[in-house]
């Protein structure tokens, strides 16, 4: 409880030493703000606050305080100043520590926290730059910049009207930014809000609404994407492919790990990663594919994972024309009534389901061709993808007899950076037989 006294003492020492107060106070501030001491801190600030109020009437204002005040007064109290503060701090690095330092500097610079609303607005704007926009502790720290108890309405008239509207708006704005980034306030936030604005203020209401809706929506997405995606491209591909292929049986195969080889001539050859996914059902479908009809490798198609875009490729075929579809032959002895060994698979009745019990929707089905497999690769060129196809051939030998057509669109830049020229001869040999069989007409074959 003697921290304020300590603080005063530091101020005194600072006065004697003649050092600028900003440099001395941060460590103390840091000491004050160790997590868990927020409660105390709020209480501790009270004497400080009082002193600030009193200070105007106090005749013996210290010269230092005056200078600090003058300094703040000198500066234009506009947004630019505070932006400046951040910019100056962030000249070399932009980290959470830097951000916290700036906030600390501001808090300790002026005991009256003059211009704190502008400062908070500026800080909110700068948060994404410092990468702290998802950090609840930083938000709490920013809230802490508000002086405590001043804005709490003291009588019913104040309570009736919008007490300190700008400050309340600022508080709401801060909470709104948290909301937009999906950050859930915690108890600390609540305590701070109660101390700053009182129990029935607008920011408090905002807090309550957030706390009502946020937990309800937290797990609304049945397919959550983590905030931090795996950095390893193979892991990322694995994650994305399982996300698209909604089949728990689907198996991921890594056809090639990313690697860099140095050939005899000293050239560096990049081997891109190739990760594919195929379910057993897809495998059986592919095995039944009519070899006289081509299959297509298509892509790249985008998949957005929060702010990252990845691309995938499909191995698909055209829908089977109706004249070729063979009805599964139905052996009456095996399935029919009074015939089946265990129980009839169907009844021989001339009765359909009654309309009142037919809950099927009338859906207009668009016939689509089967998708046999999917992959993600470090490069979207044909050479890489034909490696994928030859990898698939190991489990589906029939793929060797099926003409494979590559219908690749010019992919995104990052996929194209490594040039197509880096083909090794053996890869070409591998792809050759496949290309031979291509019906070249009308298909845009990308070489």
């Amino acid at each position: 409880m003697n921290t304020p006294r300590q603080l005063l003492r530091i101020q005194c020492i600072a006065r004697f030493l003649g050092t600028p107060i900003q440099r001395v106070i941060p460590p103390t501030g840091a000491h004050l703000q160790t997590p868990g001491t927020q409660h105390k801190y709020g209480q501790l600030l009270r004497p400080l606050h009082c002193s600030a109020v009193c200070s105007t009437s106090r005749p013996s204002q210290t010269p230092l305080e005056k200078t600090v005040e003058a300094e703040t007064l000198k500066k234009d109290r506009s947004l630019v100043t505070h932006d400046d503060l951040f910019e100056r701090a962030a000249r070399d690095s932009k980290t959470k520590a830097d951000f916290n330092r700036v906030v600390d500097v501001f808090s300790k610079k002026d005991i009256r926290r003059r211009g704190h609303v502008e400062f908070i607005y500026a800080a909110l704007k700068k948060m994404p730059e410092f990468g702290v926009e998802r950090d609840i502790t930083v938000y709490n720290k920013l809230l802490d910049v508000f002086p405590k108890e001043v804005f709490v309405p003291r009588n019913f008239i104040q309570r009736m009207f919008n007490h300190y509207p700008r400050q309340q708006e600022c508080g709401v704005q801060l909470l709104e930014q948290m909301e937009n980034y999906g950050i859930m306030p915690n108890v600390e936030t609540k305590v701070l809000l109660a101390q700053i604005f009182g129990e029935k203020s607008h920011p408090m209401r905002k807090y309550q609404r957030i706390m009502y809706w946020f937990p309800k929506f937290k797990h609304a997405n049945p397919f959550p994407v983590p905030h931090v995606l795996p950095s390893d491209p193979v892991e990322l591909a694995r994650f994305s492919l399982t996300r698209i292929a909604d089949d728990l049986d689907a198996k991921i195969t890594i056809y090639q790990y990313p690697s860099t080889d140095i050939t005899e001539t000293g050239e560096e050859v990049m081997r891109p990663h190739i990760v594919g996914i195929q379910s057993p059902n897809q495998r059986t479908l592919l095995a039944k594919h009519n070899p006289s009809r081509p299959v297509f490798v298509e892509g790249p198609f985008p998949l957005w994972l929060r702010k990252t875009c990845v691309h995938y490729f499909l191995l698909r075929a055209d829908p089977i024309p109706s004249e070729e579809t063979v009805e599964e032959e139905f052996d009456l002895e095996m399935m029919g009534p009074e015939q089946s060994l265990f129980y009839p698979q169907r009844l021989e009745l001339d009765l359909e389901r009654d309309m009142g019990d037919d809950f099927r929707f009338d859906v207009d089905d668009v016939k689509e061709g089967p998708v046999y497999a999917m992959c993600m690769a470090g490069q979207g060129d044909q050479v890489t993808l034909s490696q994928w196809i030859s990898g698939l051939q190991e489990t589906c030998p029939i793929l060797g007899q099926i003409p494979t057509v590559f219908r690749l669109e010019s992919g995104p830049r990052e996929l194209q950076t490594t040039s197509d020229a880096q083909q090794t001869p053996e890869q070409e040999v591998e792809t050759d037989p496949i290309i031979e069989e291509e019906p070249l007409h009308s298909q845009r074959v990308k070489q």
Binding site: M184, N186, M211, F214, P215, K218, H219, L248, D331, E333, M334, M335, P337, E338, Q339, S340, L341, F342, Y343, P344, Q345, R346, L347, E348, L349, D350, L351, E352, R353, D354, G356, D357
Partner: protein, 631 residues
């Protein structure tokens, strides 16, 4: 005395048809009934009991009176039963069989000496030549050891049954004598790795050799009881058959395969939960040369053979279950009578009494169902009792499980130890719900077979109704109105010329009510679902359950009526059991039938399906942990 004499007379004529005849006038009636039944018997049996229930008809002639065996047969049976019972009580060490997972050869020899390997094989082939009813009676005793019961059943109920019912004389003469004595052991090879109950996906293939004298058999069969030591196997395999259009088609054919033909290898015996002493393993055929003479029936006709074997082999499970429960009642009641808790013996507590009542009821119903079905099967002609047999199997397998579990519960912790046989019985009887067609599949079979039967007859009427034929609609509305006003259904079970004893009138009325309600429910289900009812498994399950209850009620009513009429010992207890069971089943049926109504609030099927779909989509329990938090 006079009355008794009268009964004796009635029995000598008709085995107690219309059994509570107290007036001479009714005796003439009985004879008349009897004659009419004789008439039906001699024609191809067109009457069916369970199937007709789907139409809301009660063919009382089929199930009343309760079937009997003649006095000579009974005496013969009793002579057989005594040594078997003695053997099982004295010479069979079930604990050791279970522990060592093998039946010792001495025990097997003992069984062979008793002739238990050829119970149903005709005497001319060296078997005992017993009827289904008598087979069921012996099953009560053999069931005291699960492993032996399964070994015997796999040998004769399915293993050699193919030869017995569909084999030609040469095959019978060649194989049956050795099988009947137990010198050779038989097995039934149908199930495959890829096809559990889905017989359509049999992969084992038999190809005719070029000389046309042999089939080469290739494939693997799974979970073959007696597979390790069987010498003769009934194997089902695909063969190429040219049908009448000249097209080549794959059809299933049944073969008699001797292990001596070569190329037959058995896998390691499976380590099972129960019936550990029985031998279950994989059997592989590799280019096994089977002579064409060994085809059972005709080439391509294996399906029917398999169907007949399986469909009619299941009834004995009822008597087996009953035999086991009767033994358990003896064991547990002794414990409950001596064990003291809070200064009272265990048997004085209501909840313990409840368990004994459950056991007695189940044993009673199972027994009644099993012997009613066996009796129906023993009638001359080609009986089609597959539906009834399936019902017996479902009811008794589930009843046994409940009863064994209750018996174990009476002993509490002691029942859980290996010092007592309860845990072994519990493990052994778990298989009953699985083999010979799982209960789920049999329920589908029961419901769908009946639906098909009823559907064929009702299609015309329903179509007229759907077309909006005013006449038909009015007729049905009128019938419904009448039913709701009069509320009494009368199938003639009670009252004058009734077949049920008057002391069971109330129960019989309940049964009649349920039967009528069931008929109209089936009709409305056919109206609603038509042939797509195949996909409505939850509906079919309820239909099957109602039918099983109805058949069980029939069996107990029939049996008790006979018992009262001929004055069997303790028939008052039977009346008590019958009335209790019928009341219980009546309420269960009412609930099920209410659930089957359209838009019934009691029906939870849609929710049940949805829960299952969500769980299966995730392949895990879906809910978050109750201790989880979101903030």
């Amino acid at each position: 005395m006079n009355v008794n004499k009268l009964f004796g007379l009635t029995r000598s004529v008709s085995f107690g048809r219309n059994v509570f005849a107290t007036r001479v006038a009714q005796k003439g009636d009985c004879v008349h009934h009897f004659r009419s039944r004789r008439f039906i018997r001699s024609s191809a049996r067109s009457l069916t009991y369970a199937k007709d229930l789907f139409l809301g008809k009660v063919n009382k002639a089929e199930v009343f009176p309760f079937p009997e065996i003649s006095k000579e047969e009974l005496e013969e049976l009793n002579q057989l039963v005594q040594p078997v019972e003695k053997f099982f009580n004295e010479d069979v060490d079930s604990k050791k069989i279970d522990h060592e997972a093998v039946i010792p050869p001495e025990t097997l020899n003992g069984l062979k000496e008793l002739g238990l390997f050829g119970i149903q094989v005709p005497e001319e082939y060296g078997g005992l030549g017993l009827s289904n009813t008598m087979y069921a009676r012996l099953g009560e005793i053999t069931s005291l050891d699960g492993a032996i019961a399964v070994t015997l059943a796999a040998h004769q109920a399915i293993g050699l049954k193919g030869i017995l019912i569909a084999g030609n004389d040469a095959q019978k003469a060649k194989y049956l004598p050795k099988l009947a004595t137990g010198e050779h052991i038989a097995a039934f090879c149908l199930t495959e790795p890829g096809s559990g109950s889905d017989a359509a996906s049999i992969q084992t293939r038999a190809t005719l050799t070029e000389d046309g004298k042999h089939f080469l058999l290739n494939g693997t069969k799974f979970w073959i009881s007696n597979g390790g030591w069987a010498d003769i196997m009934t194997v089902f395999a695909r063969t190429e058959v040219v049908d009448k259009d000249g097209e080549k088609k794959d059809k299933i054919t049944a073969f008699i395969v001797e292990r001596a033909f070569g190329g037959v290898t058995s896998g390691k015996p499976e380590d099972k939960l129960g019936i550990r002493g029985s031998n279950t393993c994989e059997v592989t055929f590799e280019d096994t040369k089977v002579p064409v003479e060994n085809v059972i029936g005709e080439v391509g006709g294996g399906f029917k053979v398999a169907m007949n074997i399986l469909n009619n082999g299941r009834f004995s499970m009822g008597s087996a279950g009953a035999g086991m429960i009767k033994r358990l009642i003896e064991l547990t009641s002794e414990y409950a009578g001596t064990r003291k808790q809070f200064n009272r013996s265990l048997s004085e507590f209501g909840m313990i009494q409840d368990k004994f009542a459950t056991m007695a009821l189940n044993a009673f119903v199972m027994e009644s169902m099993a012997y009613l079905t066996a009796g129906m099967m023993d009638r001359p002609g080609v009986p089609d009792c597959s539906l009834e047999a399936a019902m017996v199997k479902v009811f008794s397998s589930e009843g046994s499980w409940i009863c064994v579990s209750e018996a174990l519960q009476v002993l509490g912790g002691l029942g859980f130890t290996k010092n007592y046989p309860y845990e072994r019985y519990l493990r052994d009887c778990r298989i009953l719900q699985i083999f010979e067609g799982t209960n789920e599949i049999l329920r589908m079979y029961i419901a769908l077979t009946g639906m098909q039967y009823a559907g064929k007859i009702l299609t015309g009427k329903i179509k007229e109704m759907k077309k909006g034929n005013v006449g038909v609609v009015f007729e049905i509305l009128g019938k419904k109105l009448k039913d709701s006003v009069v509320k009494t259904v009368d199938f003639g079970l009670t009252g004058k010329d009734g077949v049920v004893h008057p002391s069971l009138t109330e129960s019989a009325k309940m049964f009649e009510q349920n039967a009528a309600h069931f008929g109209s429910t089936v009709e409305s289900l056919l109206y609603r679902y038509g042939k797509t009812i195949v996909e409505e498994q939850l509906v079919l399950k309820k239909v099957a359950d109602v039918l099983i209850n109805l058949y069980a009620m029939t069996a107990v009513l029939s049996r008790t009526s006979r018992s009262i009429s001929i004055g069997l010992r303790n028939h008052d207890h039977e009346v008590l059991l019958t009335n209790t069971f019928c009341k219980d089943a009546h309420f269960k049926n009412n609930f099920l039938l209410t659930q089957l109504q359209k838009n019934s609030p009691e029906n939870n099927d849609a929710n049940i399906k949805k829960i299952a779909q969500e769980v299966i989509a995730k392949r895990a329990y879906v809910c978050s942990h109750p201790l989880d938090r979101t903030f």
